[in-house]
């Protein structure tokens, strides 16, 4: 639903933009229009770079090269490098530290959802001694349907754990490809196994839970 709303709004915005720029449209071709629009988003201190990229585009004749150049420049205009180092938009200082240190990223990705994922797993597997207060935390008043917290935990686990696994696997793969043993990074390896087991469990639980609905069992929820 949200994608449909975004799509409709994008179409409307494009329509309005085209009407607004009707007069000047004929002068610019696609790559120029794209780059000009993206350049307007550059921060004030970087605007001259937008002009520089447009001037450079003007020199290119081949349509494919023009599109390639414009797309690359548009990406720069949307995510310009931050003064002092990292990428301005998504590579903030926090992100920079995380991406610089994969083990930290893996640990954070693993530890953040871990307690709640454990609780949710206990609920799913119906381990009796914990059921009482867990049901209160993670289910609606009827004690059956999952509430918002449970959904957040579930989505968080589904998103964060694979990211942590991939980031954690990177140094292992690098070492193996360099000809070293897989045991060169024992902590990463252990973490990767645990993460993989966790993800597999979650995915399996989803499949087992939803399978009756996929095969068309009536009144399936």
């Amino acid at each position: 639903m949200i994608f449909l709303v975004i799509f409709v709004f994008t179409l409307l915005a494009l329509g309005i933009w085209r009407l607004h720029n009707k007069g000047s449209r004929s002068k610019l071709d696609g790559p120029e229009r794209l780059l000009a629009a993206a350049s307007r988003l550059l921060p004030k201190g970087r605007r001259d770079w937008g002009v520089a990229m447009l001037a450079e585009l003007e020199q290119l004749q081949n349509p494919f090269t023009r599109w390639q150049f414009a797309l690359g420049c548009a990406r720069v205009a949307l995510f310009p490098p931050r003064r002092g180092g990292s990428i301005q938009t998504f590579r903030s200082h926090t992100m920079k530290n995380i991406t610089d240190n994969p083990r930290a990223a893996a640990l954070i990705g693993f530890l953040l959802p871990l307690p709640l994922t454990l609780l949710l797993s206990i609920l799913w597997f119906e381990i009796e001694p914990f059921q009482g207060f867990l049901k209160h935390w993670f289910t609606e008043a009827d004690g059956v349907r999952m509430n918002a917290i449970a959904h957040i935990v579930m989505i968080g686990s589904v998103l964060l754990l694979p990211v942590a696994l991939i980031v954690n696997l990177a140094p292992i793969v690098r070492n193996v490809r360099a000809g070293n043993s897989v045991m060169t990074n024992p902590i990463n390896l252990l973490l990767a196994v645990v993460l993989f087991a966790f993800i597999s469990t979650i995915v399996s639980v989803f499949i087992i839970d939803q399978y009756p609905c996929w095969i068309g069992v009536p009144n399936c929820d």
Partner: protein, 108 residues
């Protein structure tokens, strides 16, 4: 605590390309052709180099009518020093060591 980092291979390529003709002003696309870097990689590198005072920029003069002036680039003294340092044999050895550790880059 701030770590001092070696420039990336792409940044080093740009620095070395610019250092080949230290006095000459170069265009972005021209540099992109020489180094094999796409515009999306080239311009952030140029921006960062300019931010750090390693790159001097100016606008083209005597431009024919109907064509916008292009942005031109050349290394500052500091930039030339860094480029020379990167081109030194020790750096090349370090780069070769990095390449050995990452065989995926071989043959690319």
């Amino acid at each position: 605590m701030k770590r001092s980092r070696q420039p990336s291979e792409q940044t080093a390529a740009v620095l070395i390309a610019l250092a080949e003709e230290p006095g000459a002003w170069r265009y972005g696309y021209d540099l992109s052709q020489q180094t094999g870097l796409k515009a999306g990689s080239m311009y952030p590198i140029l921006m960062r180099l300019a931010d750090r005072g390693l790159l001097e920029t100016t606008w083209e003069r005597d431009v024919p009518a109907g064509r916008p002036p292009r942005h031109l680039y050349r290394l500052t003294g500091q930039g030339l020093e860094l480029a020379a340092e990167l081109a030194a044999p020790q750096s090349r050895a370090a780069k070769a060591k990095r390449a050995r550790l990452r065989p995926r880059t071989e043959g690319a």
